[in-house]
């Protein structure tokens, strides 16, 4: 059984939905980060698959860029998370609601 384009895309969609569900359902900031990473990687899978299918390297270049950006984002984001945790002692979103109208 060969793995074709549609299988890759289905995997990407599944990964994306898992990520999205995580973003919506999870209450812990750290978990939200993980979910975001899953979503990013879903996009990467789709990009790489399409790039291979079309025979165009642009998609893979994009995927590489996204990986680089995701890495730096995590670095900044985790730094912020540590600060938030130090200041408030929690990462639960229901408790972090100072900015309300």
């Amino acid at each position: 059984m060969s793995v074709g384009l549609s299988e890759y895309l289905i995997l990407a969609v599944i990964l994306f939905v898992i990520g999205l569900t995580g973003v919506i359902r999870r209450k812990n900031l750290l978990m939200l980060f993980f979910a975001t990473e899953i979503m990013l990687n879903a996009a990467n899978v789709a990009l790489a698959a399409l790039s291979s299918y079309m025979g165009d390297l642009t998609g893979q270049m994009f995927a590489l860029f996204i990986i680089a950006i995701a890495a730096s984002e995590v670095a900044v984001g985790l730094g912020l998370l540590i600060l938030v945790y130090k200041k408030y002692g929690t990462l639960d979103l229901d408790d972090l609601n100072l900015l309300k109208g």
Binding site: L20, V23, I24, R26, K27, L29, L32, L93, D94, L96, N97, L98, L99, K100, G101
Partner: protein, 631 residues
């Protein structure tokens, strides 16, 4: 010659702006001196222009810049000095310069000394714009400028409290200022309509274009324009029924009264009628109406002056009366006679007011003539000046007023309007009576002011010197009548007396002098030997009627001011608060309520936001999908 024009016009503006810099500061004597010098400079430039016109008979023209350029319309901001303007300029700047110098004395202890000079110079500048403009639009600018400056100056002592009409008939300076301003606005609407009519039908507002177009316009339109312009003149020159502001304007400082009455304000209306003479000579019906109204105002104002006890109000009524004379002459087509009386009147009226200013200073601002008396001993020079001015006003030979007033009477006779002649003739007697009633009450008789603990003193020498040129002119101005006629009739239509009138000249002189002298004699008999008040006369209906100005101010208040205020109250409480305010408040309320509801969406919880975001993303994706499928 254009540079002289610019100097004459802009020196007062520079003067005003200069004084304005120091308006908020304490008195700076230099401000008074410099403004006086600048106005005097304007006077000398005006004289230079007059001499130039006399010698070369060339009209000086200057265009400053394109003012309004819209499509085919091109209004230039231009000035012109022709014969009428030159005479007006010399009169205006001469009186203004002397009033400026005099004000240094009169306002010396006022805390707003600098501000006063700023307003005063602005007043002169506005009047010069009015008389020098070459179009109705420029005239209107000056017209409004004069209105604003008069408002500022009449209400100069704005901090004085309102009083009842029994204590002070003018209520308060700010009240009087508002009255003057509002009355003038009413009349200005007439002027504006006239200007609109001209522009609509001629397409240009330049005097020359309009006068050239007059033969092509139909008669009804000319009548409409003539009436509309005259309504404007009625307001500025305080003709009945818009006259009440003039007497109340006495609330301003006395030099202001001198300026308003002699140079910079009330003469504007007469000037407008003289300026528009090609129009008014085409519509003799309107001219006749102007003459009749002027005659009515002459006797109407004189009658109020007969019994008034307020020093300045008497002079104010006399101005009103003399303006009536001018309009009578202008209405009958004798435009140069009106201008001549305007000039002569400016000199002796300014003198009269400045003398009154001296008396007021001596009397510590007491204005009731019944509390004065016997001042001759203390203020001999002022007595002399006021005597000269009153003689000129009464029309006694050889003073200036005699020549001009006598000519007006001759004109009235010559036009065979004997009614007008008789009324004006009789008014001349009344004028003489009230002028000398004033002189005798103030300067002769028993010294009634001692009860008030006042020690009168003569004015400072330089103030008297400032008045001296006016006194000289009040005496000799009449002798220049021939030269004046020769000069002015190059521009204004000449007015020839019929032979019949020429024969009767001596008769007129005798009759006019006769009634004037009779008036003076009666005043002498009644008042020269002290004040004898007769309660029977003072309680009579006629006396009360005259003393209360025919109850016209009260009538205006009851008939116009009160209902207007009630209407305004209704508009305020019912319309403004209930409808306008309610609408605006409603909009604000609606915004507030929506904000209050929607602010709950911002609950500070990140996961709620993310849910909304996901929902939005799905929603937009669905729309995109559907739109693709439907296509």
């Amino acid at each position: 010659m254009q540079s002289y024009l610019y100097i004459a016009l802009f020196a007062p503006l520079v003067s005003s702006l200069f004084a304005a810099i120091f308006a908020q500061q304490k008195k700076i004597q230099l401000v008074g001196i410099i403004t006086s010098i600048l106005i005097a400079l304007s006077f000398f430039a005006s004289v230079e222009l007059l001499v130039y016109l006399m010698q070369t008979n060339k009209i000086v023209h200057a265009t400053l810049f394109d003012w309004i350029v819209i499509g085919d319309m091109n209004v230039k901001f231009g000035f012109t000095v022709d014969h009428v303007t030159a005479v007006m300029m010399v009169v205006v700047t001469l009186v203004s310069a002397l009033v400026h110098i005099y004000s240094n004395y009169y306002m010396e202890h006022d805390k707003s000394f600098n501000r006063f000079f700023s307003y005063l110079s602005a007043f002169v500048f506005s009047m010069l714009v009015l008389v020098m403009s070459d179009s109705f639009l420029g005239l209107f600018i000056g017209w409004e400028g004069v209105g604003v400056c008069s408002w500022l100056l009449i209400g100069f002592w704005y901090y004085k409290k309102d009083e009842t009409r029994d204590v002070n008939p003018s209520i308060s300076p700010s009240w009087a200022a508002n009255e003057a301003f509002i009355m003038n606005r009413i009349a200005d609407l007439g002027l504006l309509i006239g200007i609109f009519l001209i522009f609509w039908n001629v397409g240009s507002l330049k005097y020359n274009d309009f006068f050239a177009a007059i033969p092509n316009l139909n008669h009804g339109l000319l009548v409409a324009i003539g009436i509309a312009l005259f309504i404007g003149a009625m307001g500025k020159s305080a003709q009945f029924p818009l006259h009440t502001w003039l007497a109340d304007a006495m609330e301003g400082p006395t030099p202001v009264s001198a300026l308003i009455h002699a140079a910079t304000m009330v003469t504007a209306g007469v000037y407008l009628v003289i300026r528009a003479n090609p129009l008014y000579s085409q519509i003799p019906g309107v001219g006749y109406f102007i003459a009749v109204l002027g005659t009515f105002v002459a006797i109407f104002a004189a009658s109020m002056a007969l019994v008034n006890r307020d020093l300045k109000r008497v002079i104010a009524y006399s101005t009103l009366s003399q303006l009536g004379y001018m309009f009578a002459a202008a209405g009958l087509g004798a435009y140069w006679v009106a201008l001549f009386h305007l000039a002569a009147h400016a000199f002796f009226k300014a003198l009269l007011f400045l003398s009154a200013g001296n008396v007021m200073h001596a009397m510590h601002d007491e204005l009731d003539m019944f509390k004065m008396g016997g001042l001759k001993k203390y203020m001999a020079k002022t007595y002399l000046m006021m005597g000269i001015a009153s003689l000129a006003l009464s029309g006694i030979y050889p003073f200036a007023g005699f020549f001009s007033k006598d000519t007006i009477l001759e004109v009235a006779f010559n036009e065979e309007t004997y009614g007008i002649w008789f009324v004006l003739w009789f008014t001349a007697g009344l004028t003489a009576f009230y002028s000398f009633r004033q002189v005798f009450l103030v300067f002769h008789g028993d010294e009634r002011f001692h009860e008030l603990g006042i020690h009168p003193h003569e004015a400072k020498p330089y103030a008297l010197w400032a008045m001296a040129p006016l006194a000289v002119l009040a005496v000799i101005a009449g002798f220049f009548k021939e030269e004046f006629v020769e000069f002015i009739t190059k521009f204004l239509p000449p007015y020839e007396m019929s032979e019949h009138t020429e024969h009767l000249v001596w008769f007129f002189i005798i009759v006019t002098m006769g009634i004037a002298l009779t008036g003076i004699f009666i005043a002498y008999k009644k008042y020269a030997n002290g004040l004898r008040r007769d309660p029977k006369v003072e309680n009579s209906f006629l006396y009360k009627l005259l003393f209360n100005q025919y109850y016209i101010p009260i009538f205006y208040e009851k008939a116009f001011a009160k209902p207007y205020k009630e209407l305004s109250d209704i508009a305020w409480k019912e319309i403004d608060q209930e409808i306008v305010d309610a609408t605006v408040d409603g909009i604000a309320k609606a915004v507030e309520v929506t904000g209050d509801v929607s602010r709950r969406a911002q609950n500070g919880n990140l996961s709620t936001y993310l849910k909304w975001m996901a929902f939005g993303l799905i929603f937009i994706s669905l729309i995109a999908l559907i739109s693709v499928v439907v296509k």
